[in-house]
């Protein structure tokens, strides 16, 4: 071999080693990046779940509170009927009418107490009070769980999506936007009265008869729909604070991508969805069990009113009482849990129709 042929090989190994070193460092950086990405993804998924669960737990508190008020309404109505049914009322002397002024005055007192409870129920079920409190709890949980992630303003609870139960107007009770739709039943209040009619000796009390017609008062609330038209879905969005080999990295999600693969999208921001719901409680009877047209019967049993009865009795409230269970608690749910069901609100629809979220395609959500 000629000496001249050896010269170009000088430094060849150094170049090879430099190339190998570079490749290895890149490989290591990718692996590290992947680790950080996986870690952040778990963290943000946890945050979404905790946020949804916290909001659902607050919703469970609200529903239990509403159940208690509904029970108070029912108890007040029951107490009023107990007083009315406990005696025979006397009509106005010589007017010969089946009306007792004392009983009617007592019913007026019942009405004002029932109206006060009704106002309390509506105030606590009102959208800003109930859903506002839920969303506040959910946001607190999001913040508590992703404090070291750069959260974006894209985190929300689908309150802008018309197909979500957290949106304003998804529930209306007596023209008030509420947490969910409740319907107030009308209860009849009447009594037995002895009319006083003119007779030979002046005025004589006649045999007892029911009041000329029952007085109708707003009574307890029922929930026309059963679950699952109440659930909370949280969308948490956040970006890694640091990223290797991400040349166009942007914590605000405006550019780049976790691996520098995108310069037009906003792939720096990850999104996770969490769904939770209150369950296992009951504010009141539901339409599945009760006729809501005012007669409100439950499989033939009187559930508040019984038109076949000469007057309305307090025991008629025993059946609706069994449907008022302040035992709501919260659980995690699935995005696809209610697909194909008759639920009023479906998370997939809420995702599709959400105007502000980063996730618009429910088929990509596999949680």
């Amino acid at each position: 071999m000629k000496p001249g042929t050896q010269r170009p090989r000088r430094g060849q190994a150094a170049v090879l080693i430099a190339l190998c070193m570079f490749s290895l460092v890149v490989f290591l950086a990718f692996a590290t990046n992947m680790g950080i990405l996986v870690n952040d993804k778990i963290r943000i998924q946890n945050a979404a779940d905790m946020g949804a669960y916290s909001a659902a737990y607050r919703e469970a508190q609200v529903l239990n509170r509403l159940t208690r008020i509904n029970q108070e309404i029912l108890n007040e109505a029951k107490r009023c009927r107990q007083v009315l049914e406990g005696r025979i009322w006397q009509g106005v002397p010589c007017e010969c009418q089946a009306i007792a002024p004392d009983a009617d005055a007592f019913i007026q007192g019942c009405e004002s107490r029932l109206q006060a409870l009704e106002s309390q129920f509506l105030a606590e079920a009102e959208y800003t009070a109930s859903v506002g409190s839920m969303l506040s709890a959910g946001r607190a949980a999001l913040d508590a769980n992703v404090s070291d992630l750069s959260m974006t303003s894209g985190s929300h609870f689908f309150e802008s999506s018309p197909a979500s139960p957290t949106s304003q107007g998804s529930g209306v009770t007596k023209s008030v936007p509420t947490l969910t739709t409740f319907e107030q039943l009308q209860s009849y209040f009447d009594y037995f009265v002895m009319p006083s009619c003119p007779c030979l000796i002046g005025c004589c009390y006649q045999p007892q008869v029911p009041r000329i017609q029952p007085i109708t008062l707003g009574s307890y609330f029922i929930k026309p729909d059963r679950d699952p038209d109440m659930w909370v879905m949280a969308e948490a969005s956040g970006a890694m604070k640091t990223s290797y080999l991400d040349i166009a990295y942007s914590p605000s999600g405006g550019d780049g991508g976790y691996f520098g693969g995108s310069s037009t999208g906003s792939d720096d921001v990850m999104t996770a969805i969490g769904v939770a719901k209150p369950f296992d409680g009951s504010v009141g009877p539901t339409a599945q069990f009760i006729d809501v047209d005012g007669s409100s019967r439950l499989d033939g049993f009187a559930a508040g009113n019984n038109e076949a009865s000469p007057i309305q009795y307090s025991f008629q409230f025993l059946v609706p009482e069994t449907f008022m269970q302040p035992t709501y608690r919260a659980r995690l749910a699935g995005v696809h849990e209610w697909e194909g069901s008759t639920a009023d609100f479906n998370p997939a629809d809420a995702i599709s129709s959400n105007p502000v979220g980063r996730t618009s395609d429910p088929s990509r959500i596999h949680h």
Partner: protein
Amino acid sequence: MIRRASITKRRRGQAAVETMLLTFMVMVVLLGVVHLFSLTWASQNAHIRAREAAFHGDAFLTGTKASSQFIQPGSAPFDPGMPGPGGNYTVAEDSITPFQFSATATDESRDDLFGSQQIEVTATITSN
């Protein structure tokens, strides 16, 4: 001839040294990747334990290499005595009261060339 012999002599073992160096570096990188995998694994463990403990209670914090602290002001959402379908969650209060359930779980990566790192995760369910 003398010149060619010296060149040949200088080249002896060069490939072995290069191979050794490269093998060492490849091994370091591979071990690093394994360590990263171990870190990610530990991170997942810690996250899952903390998350499930926040939902269900301290039972989820026990296990291999797990040391934990379960912080529970107030009642946990888990109540093993609660009957009913799916019912191991405590019934919510019937008033709008602040709540906080949190659990902290730790796990650590395998102790190898790069040492062992401990990962601590706190999961919080809160209204505050």
